[in-house]
Amino acid sequence: MILASLAGDVLVWVVWVVAAIALLASGFAVVLFRNPFHSALALILNLGSLAVLYLLLSAEFVAAAQVLVYAGAVMVMFLFVIAYLGGRADAPWASSQAAVRVAAVVTCVVLLAEVVLVIALDARDGLSSAAEITEGFGSPRELGRLFLGDNLLAFEVSSLVLLIGAVGGVILGATVRRGEVEE
């Protein structure tokens, strides 16, 4: 029994290391590839590795939803647009303005600081609430209860943000089409 649980621990550790390395490598690949299609594929790998990490955190539903929605549906649209533009699509860094680059670097530094802070707190036992995995943790039922019960306002606000994005996309698309000459 002890041997089996040890083997399980080693397996979890190996999966974690592989997923973490894949996550970092694919993240760098997204911004370093010259070809936007390759960047998009690296992003799929990135989202997939993230799903594996969710799985290790016992969040099965979130992991599957991550693959289905982000790695699946959303990225298909990315690939569609990149394939549609053909050679006219730019590499991720190519056309960005200086302000965008500065903002990206600042965001990354902030996130890095946050990660370092959390690790430091954890090392000194400064995090008060220990993780507690209950029976139905990560199940769709529990997740639904959180979304539509405890965090209803945040859930509805985020749905509003998505709706605004969708409406904005339609409006932008419609104006472009009106400007076009009928062939």
């Binding site: 289905l68 699946g72 549906a73 690939l79």
Partner: protein, 332 residues
């Protein structure tokens, strides 16, 4: 079946997985023969009848032919992605069948043997997730071929998948609400206790089946590989066993979709008299027959018809079905 203690050691699982993947591969191979035979009969021809009695050895002859053929690639496509794509498509298609239950729990010699390889609490979502990864095989393969026909096939695949995936996912929401679970085993068991969901969820079933036929790129939704316009779409530059793997993935998806239809709407392995796997096989064969029948009967849609039908007919109907079911489930 949430964690109820099953006395099933790991080697039984391994054995079952080996049996299931091989039977599944056999079914997929012979689905091609059945399709060609039936299409032949429906068009007043014989279909393949030269290899073995009644042409029964045709799939094996095809396999030998494909393996021995040279797998050449266009100069513009000599790329890792070009080689990996068929593998991705075939792998995800074959993996997904592990989630389909085909029998009850038997106790043999003190051990419990389940009629499924894996029962996950979120089986249905996992199945869709695998499917959504599998289409990358087709999309990337077409793009990496470096050919205009392939690229057009890729574009059509993207647009069609995105359009019909939403309806497909929404159409099963009614079933999930009625079963109260995302586990395929639970859904099948629930139907055996009550009624086949094809009855109360008839509209959901229709939407699911139509969207499913579209998702598997079969006629009348086979625009990504429309031979009269695009040569063979994303398949154009593939040959030999790489082409064979794409075909394998397509037929595996068809068989998987039939299995999913049986599980979600026709009570899975349930039925009187005969053992579970036999009932499952009978139902699977019926759904497969209908899919071949549709291919032989209906002409291909035009591209704008395809898009309009997906977004303006199928999606609203699927949404309405999910909404009405939700209200009824809560009210009753």
């Amino acid at each position: 079946m949430d964690g109820t203690a099953l006395n099933q050691p790991w080697w039984i699982d391994l054995l079952k997985a080996a049996v299931v993947i091989n039977v599944f591969l056999g079914v997929v191979a012979y689905a091609t023969l059945i399709e060609r035979k039936l299409l032949g009969r429906m068009q007043l021809r014989y279909g393949p009848n030269r290899a073995g009695p009644f042409g029964l050895l045709q799939p094996i002859a095809d396999l030998v032919k494909m393996v021995r053929k040279e797998a050449f690639a266009p100069a513009a496509a000599a790329d890792l992605l070009y080689i990996v794509s068929p593998l991705v498509a075939a792998f995800t298609a074959l993996t997904s069948f592990a989630l389909i239950p085909w029998g009850p729990v038997w106790s043999i010699g003190g051990y419990d043997v389940t009629g499924w390889v894996a029962d996950v609490p979120i089986g249905l979502i996992l199945l869709f997730a695998l499917g959504s990864l599998g289409i990358y095989g087709f999309i990337v393969g077409g793009w990496a071929s470096g050919s205009k026909y392939s690229l057009l096939g890729t574009m059509r695949t993207c647009a069609q998948m995105v359009s019909y995936e939403v309806s497909l996912a929404l159409s099963v929401l009614g079933v999930v609400l009625m079963a109260g679970s995302l586990s395929l085993v639970d859904i099948a068991v629930r139907q055996q206790e009550t009624v086949w969901f094809a009855g109360p969820q008839f509209i959901g079933f229709l939407v699911f089946f139509v969207a499913g036929v579209a998702e598997t790129n079969r006629a009348p939704f086979d625009l990504p590989e429309a031979e009269s316009e695009l040569v063979a779409g994303y398949l154009t530059e593939y040959s030999g066993m790489r082409w064979g793997l794409f075909q394998l993935a397509e037929y595996a998806n068809v068989v998987m979709l039939s299995g999913l239809t049986v599980t979600l709407f026709f009570g899975g392995w349930g039925g009187p008299g005969l053992p579970g796997p036999i009932w499952f096989a009978i139902k699977l064969a019926c759904v497969l027959f209908v899919m071949i029948w549709i291919r032989a009967t209906l002409p291909r849609l035009r591209y704008d018809q395809l898009m309009r039908f997906g977004w303006k007919v199928l999606l609203p109907v699927a949404t309405l079905n999910a909404l009405v079911t939700a209200i009824l489930v809560v009210a009753v």
